[in-house]
């Protein structure tokens, strides 16, 4: 393709909290500084900066990208902001990848930040305006409605039950017990999930990831720089991204076509023919329990209709054949919208370097995938990484 190889060489993450005292800039700084320190680089070594952050309406700062720039190391540097809702965190390394692969820059600092706690009465209220203002808003919809609508269709199509799907929360919250940034790591049972208050049938409170404040950052480098800076560069071998229309009532919601299209792009670029065999670990986006399964199917990591079987057979456990969300996912670690996807990228980065501590997946994995999703059930972003 004529494009250069790009590697991730450093990473940083803040703790995720429901309410953090730090300003959005301070959160971005903490993650960015940690990422630079982790590979002993300074701002002078950074040629460009890409920042991902979801709606300005959360932090309540208009032109959030510009506001965050100095905290993200972007002072007087080539700087770009990208935003695709929940898909942002995995779009971040894709955006950064172009900067280095094109040959335009040798290094790129990629940062993602979200401070949702500033929005009152609740950040969920910001989503009122994601709906069509004339044909849908007068019905006072909330984002939980759409998730519940999608989950219901998914369950109806294959006969999945709430009891089965609840296992995703049990798995991910348990995994998160070993993640230092985790907001909600816990040992829970299926009954805890089913007994938690109903938000919008079929969604219960414990089916949902928490609202969070947090930031994440990674350093991307060209091959020449990467090999000087670290002994374990992790290569971005495949990228894919795809956006469907905002007419979400005009497609059958049981299957995310746009995630499959993005996955195919990434697999082709990475030379992957049988994803369920060649991908060793996956971090699909899990803002809700059923979403992990919905995305596993869209990523073609199993046949359609078989994601629940995979879950119940233990395949997606940390010691299974295809561990999914060994980090603890959004359900366990937290969901500061843009930072979550980048947290998943960082998890695959650490796992492939065998630096995930107690979360380490056995068997020396060499190929991993992170995926995010968002907007009005419309975007799929996928990155395939190898050691």
């Amino acid at each position: 393709m004529g494009l250069r190889k790009v590697a991730i060489v450093g990473a940083g993450l803040t703790k995720f909290h429901r309410y953090a005292q730090e300003t959005p800039k301070e959160l971005a700084y903490e993650a960015t500084k940690m990422a630079l320190d982790s590979c002993e680089m300074t701002l002078d070594d950074i040629d460009s900066v890409c920042l991902g952050t979801a709606p300005d309406a959360f932090d309540g700062v208009h032109m959030k990208g510009e506001y965050l720039s100095d905290g993200a190391g972007g002072f007087r540097k080539p700087y770009m902001r990208h935003f695709v809702g929940g898909g942002t965190g995995v779009m971040s390394p894709i955006h950064g990848w172009f900067h280095v692969a094109s040959g335009m820059f040798d290094t790129c600092l990629v940062v993602a930040e979200e401070k949702m706690s500033s929005a009152f009465p609740h950040p969920a209220g910001a989503f009122l305006t994601i709906f069509d203002h004339t044909t849908e808003q007068p019905l006072y919809p909330t984002l939980i409605w759409i998730f519940a609508i999608e989950m219901h269709r998914f369950m109806h199509k294959y006969g999945y039950t709430k009891k089965d799907i609840a296992q995703v929360a049990v798995k991910n919250k348990a995994n998160a017990l070993f993640h230092p940034s985790a907001q909600l790591g816990a040992k829970i049972t299926v009954e805890d999930v089913l007994n938690s208050e109903v938000m919008a049938y079929p969604v219960n409170r414990m089916d949902i990831s928490p609202t969070s404040d947090g930031a994440a950052a990674i350093v991307l480098a060209s091959e020449e720089v990467a090999r000087r800076v670290t002994e374990k560069p992790i290569w971005i071998d495949g990228i894919g991204y795809c956006l469907d229309s905002a007419y979400w009532c005009n497609r059958d919601l049981y299957y995310p076509d746009y995630v499959e299209i993005a996955a195919r792009q990434a697999y082709e670029m990475a030379g992957i023919k049988e994803p369920s065999k060649e991908i060793h670990i996956a971090e699909p986006y899990d803002p809700f329990t059923y979403k992990e399964l919905h995305h596993i199917e869209g990523l073609m990591l199993c046949k359609r209709g078989e994601s629940v079987k995979m879950l119940l057979d233990g395949v997606t456990q940390r010691d299974g054949n295809l561990p999914c969300c060994p980090s603890g996912g959004a359900l366990g670690v937290g969901n500061p919208i843009a930072a979550t996807g980048l947290m998943k990228i960082i998890e695959i980065f650490l796992q492939l370097r065998e630096e995930a501590g107690e979360r380490q997946v056995p068997g020396q994995p060499t190929c991993g995938l992170a995926q995010a999703w968002g907007d009005l059930m419309q975007v799929g972003t996928v990155v395939v990484m190898r050691s």
Binding site: P121, D132, I149, H152, D252
Partner: protein, 174 residues
């Protein structure tokens, strides 16, 4: 490797109470953001027809869908749409929700009916061509995917040219 001690220092945990009681300093603001969105030709006609008690769409000859709400171009075929076409005010429930929460995450009050929004495939529009609306006149527990529904309209003199000119859809009992 992620250093747990370093990470613990990065962000300071607060509670809502601490913020409200002023234990940390903060600034409150309520932006005064109001909007007037032009309807455009397609939505303008859609709303005008709703006022008359009719649902109108626009046909795309290429993909054969009748687009509701109507659009001047088809996003799948990337071409201007063709003739205006009425669809029926009956349909099928594709999926639905029983919501215990309002738009601002507050819970529905005791004694109030839960919200039951649904995606309804309108008769005449095509497979999976649905709109978002509400279901009523039925216990939420009895709603099922696949049920046939019928729009319940406001009285003509109460209609204003809005999606809420349809109060809700009710399940047609066989």
């Amino acid at each position: 490797m992620l250093d747990a001690d370093l990470i613990a220092k990065t962000a300071t945990k607060l509670s809502l109470k601490e913020i409200q009681e002023g234990k940390v300093l903060s600034v409150k603001d309520k932006p005064n953001l109001k909007y007037a969105w032009d309807n455009g030709v397609a939505i303008g006609r859609y709303l005008a027809e709703l006022k008359e008690g009719r649902i109108i769409g626009k046909k795309c000859h290429s993909c054969k869908r009748v687009l509701v709400p109507p659009r001047l171009f088809c996003e799948l075929c990337w071409r201007p749409t063709d003739e205006w076409t009425y669809v029926q005010d009956t349909g099928t429930i594709l999926t639905f929700v029983i919501s215990h929460v309002n738009w601002d995450a507050s819970r529905v009050k005791r004694g109030q009916r839960y919200h039951t929004p649904a995606v309804i495939e309108l008769d005449g529009a095509g497979k999976d061509q649905g709109i978002l609306h509400l279901i009523d006149e039925i216990d939420p527990k009895d709603i099922k995917i696949g049920q046939k529904v019928q729009a319940v309209w406001k009285k003509p003199e109460e209609r204003t040219g809005s999606i809420t000119d349809i109060k809700y859809f009710r399940v047609i009992k066989k």
